[in-house]
């Protein structure tokens, strides 16, 4: 049994390319996602169609461009250039000032601005429009400082758990989850399918090892690798990305190991139903990767999905693990808050192991 595990270790470590990927990948991905990917809006290109060209429209334009949300993508002269600008794809919004803007404000106290947003990206369009509007409002407040209203309700807003609204807080838990899922589920499923495909599984099956020992032996190296990987990712996110760990580190590690076991049992299950590596891979790919990214609350909040999908997302293990990580790292929750999610993971482990035992055939077809 022990020798078998050693053999598996040799197998894995001899393959230096896979090793580089296994350890390089978490580092590269955490850094990339930590620094490059954000849902914040920054430097969106806008075009200005200024029919007035006076001091006020210049002031507003400057105010827009110095806000950090926008950069100038071009000046337009005519209305019919708008469609062309949008079709090229870089310009996200066009701001149109009407003729004699400043004059009208001074004389009639009224002038109009038109904002056209490229809503082929609805989220972006909505956010940009909101930013533009609030910058305009600011400008007017400056312009008419002395105008005061009675009965003002002032609202104080507070952002809990993430006062600076960093998107790293969303991405790191998701990244940890994806990577662990990949390493555990995909690697085990493929390495077992590989023995089947190459025919070496039969050699193992006729050996005095019990099927259960074969599986355990196959899995242990990956457990260790995944643990090392999890630690690397957590260290990186703590020291480089500044993710806090509000709760207990011990609980975090325990839950991570639980999730690793979950992914492994899932990998074993996939391998028992697939004949070749290619199938194991496509299954892990299609069945795991996109749903893990999309249905787990990694990027898109689950509450916004159609109800049917909210139910489907309940069988995604990643959903529960992301809740657990966020709870421990950002909210400082303890097990009394997370027992439900933990139980679900345990349940999933039991489910996958039972299904695999049922499917596992000692005699290959």
């Amino acid at each position: 049994m022990f020798k078998f595990i050693v053999k598996e270790f040799h197998h894995i470590f001899r393959d230096y390319r896979t090793m580089i990927i296994l350890f390089g990948m978490p580092v590269v991905q955490v850094l990339l996602f930590g620094f490059a990917i954000t849902t914040d809006i920054k430097d969106a290109k806008i075009a200005i169609l200024d029919k007035s060209n006076d001091y006020m429209t210049h002031e507003i334009t400057n105010k827009l461009l110095s806000s950090g949300y926008f950069i100038l993508g071009g000046n337009l002269d005519k209305d019919d250039q708008i469609d062309k600008a949008f079709r090229k794809g870089d310009i996200r919004e066009v701001v149109i000032f009407e003729k004699n803007f400043a004059q009208k404000i001074e004389k009639e106290q009224h002038a109009s601005v038109q904002i056209i947003a490229d809503a082929s990206d609805p989220n972006m369009a909505n956010l940009l429009f909101n930013y533009t509007q609030s910058i305009m409002k600011d400008y007017q407040r400056q312009l008419f400082k002395d105008k005061k209203f009675p009965l003002q309700i002032q609202t104080e807003t507070r952002m809990m758990y993430n006062p600076e609204l960093k998107s790293v807080y969303m991405f790191v838990p998701g990244t940890i989850t994806i990577l662990l899922m990949l390493i555990c589920a995909m690697m085990t499923s493929i390495s077992i399918a590989r023995e089947k495909e190459l025919g070496t599984m039969e050699v193992l099956l006729v050996s005095p090892l019990k099927p259960f020992q074969i599986i355990v032996g196959k899995v242990i190296p990956y457990v260790l690798l995944s643990c090392v990987n999890a630690i690397i990712i957590l260290l990186l996110s703590f020291f480089v990305l500044g993710m806090p760990v509000q709760g207990s580190l011990l609980l975090l590690m325990a839950e991570t190991i639980l999730f690793i076991f979950m992914s492994l049992s899932m990998g074993i299950f996939i391998s028992t139903v697939s004949q070749t590596q290619q199938i194991a891979m496509m299954m892990s790919m299609f069945a795991l990767m996109l749903p893990t990214i999309l249905l787990s609350g990694f990027i898109f909040p689950i509450e916004n999905m159609p109800v049917v999908l909210q139910y489907i997302s309940m069988i995604m293990p990643s959903r529960w693990f992301i809740i657990i990580i966020k709870g421990i790292m950002l909210k400082g929750s303890d097990i009394t808050y997370l027992w439900k999610e933990t139980l679900i993971l345990v349940g999933l482990i039991a489910f996958f192991i039972m299904m695999s035992v049922k499917k596992f055939k000692v005699r290959l077809a």
Partner: protein
């Protein structure tokens, strides 16, 4: 030419024989398109609100009613104790808390101003910014109504009248934005993985030796390997576009020929990349890992889910080698805005270069001798 045809025939036969693989290739992507396009939305439809009312006044009840009346909010709890509400926030029973302090009504009437507090669970920063802004706007509306009721003569009109229009997608429908992108993703997965894995599989099983001893030229072999998957991916694109039209009702403003033209080039680039990756690997496991590694990075940096504009300069530079980020804007711009070839030519030529480079690399790396 005839040799290529034979290889293609062989590939199709092998594929047809593979009972497990067929549904994965054809059914899974479509199911995913249908399911995931609905999942990928930033549109906030519902926010669970917990109310802490310490005032118990007419006014505080009216303010609460304003929130209750908004279809955007579901009120999940009502308390006088902030701690209860904070616990609900931690347990994710609520994602926002509205706190109305005592003497709210009295302060407003006596001192002409009063405070309320809105606490938002901000782990998802961008969603928090939106829900917080939404709460602010409800309170502001409430404030304006109050003012108008008390002082009917007051002039609250802003001097600058901001008008807006949302072009190409006036209802801000999120699936319109996501479906073209997810479609790209699915054909990419098919193209990248099938082509890459296929050659390595022959290597691993040993059948490649048999091909190597035949007089087949390198380019014939590679063409024969690529064309079947190229056809399959294009077929899936056609099928996916039909679904987009029939199920999601996505407008098709631009020309379909243009989309297929660019897609044909794009797929060559992607498959060349897959093939190149597979020449670097000895086993399917390695090839899959490499492809997976690039795939995840490419997807997340492609602008499919998050804006490219917001990325730092160095990340935009890395994106030069990301084929997906060229094709997604083409799909979106042509489908939704009716962009013409002249509008997207930059992306097209980039993909063409990409294809030439990746295929050449693959041919160069592929050795008939071991």
């Amino acid at each position: 030419m005839r040799t290529i045809l034979y290889i293609i025939q062989k590939e199709f036969r092998q594929l047809k024989r593979n009972r497990q693989m067929l549904p994965i290739i054809f059914v899974m992507p479509m199911v995913q398109l249908l399911v995931l396009s609905f999942a990928a939305t930033f549109e906030i439809k519902n926010t669970n609100l917990y109310i802490v009312d310490n005032d118990h006044s007419q006014l505080s009840r009216e303010l609460t009613a304003q929130f209750r009346g908004s279809h955007f909010y579901t009120i999940t709890g009502y308390t006088e104790d902030y701690k209860t509400a904070a616990k609900a926030l931690e347990l994710r029973k609520a994602s926002q808390i509205l706190i109305i302090p005592d003497h709210f009504e009295r302060d407003l009437n006596k001192e002409d101003k009063a405070k309320v507090q809105v606490v938002t669970d901000a782990i998802n920063g961008s969603a928090a910014a939106l829900t917080s802004a939404y709460a602010l706007s409800i309170i502001r509306d409430f404030n304006v109504n109050l003012l108008v009721d008390t002082y009917p003569a007051i002039n609250l009109k802003d001097p600058v009248d901001v008008r807006y229009s949302f072009w190409y997608n006036p209802k801000l429908d999120y699936t319109t934005f996501m479906v073209p992108g997810i479609l790209v993703l699915l054909i990419t997965i098919i193209g990248l993985f099938l082509s890459g894995m296929n050659v390595v599989r022959e290597k691993e099983i040993g059948t490649i030796e048999q091909i190597n001893v035949t007089p087949i030229h390198k380019y014939e072999f590679i063409a024969g390997k690529l064309i079947p998957f190229w056809l399959i991916a294009l077929f899936e694109l056609a099928f996916g576009l039909t679904l987009a039209k029939l199920v999601f009702n996505i407008p098709m403003v631009g020309s379909i020929e243009l989309i297929f033209g660019v897609a044909a080039v794009y797929l060559i680039a992607i498959m060349g990349l897959g093939l190149f990756i597979s020449t670097l690997a000895d086993t399917q496991q390695q090839s899959m890992f490499l492809s997976w590694f690039f795939m995840v990075i490419f997807i997340l940096m492609s602008g499919l889910f998050t804006p490219i504009d917001s990325m730092p300069e160095w990340a935009k530079t890395i994106n030069i080698i990301n084929p997906i980020h060229y094709f997604i804007p083409v799909m979106r711009n042509v489908m939704l805005k009716g962009s013409q070839f002249s509008d997207i030519s930059k992306h097209f030529w980039a993909l063409a270069c990409y294809g030439i480079i990746s295929i050449s690399l693959a041919v160069w790396r592929y050795r008939k001798t071991s």
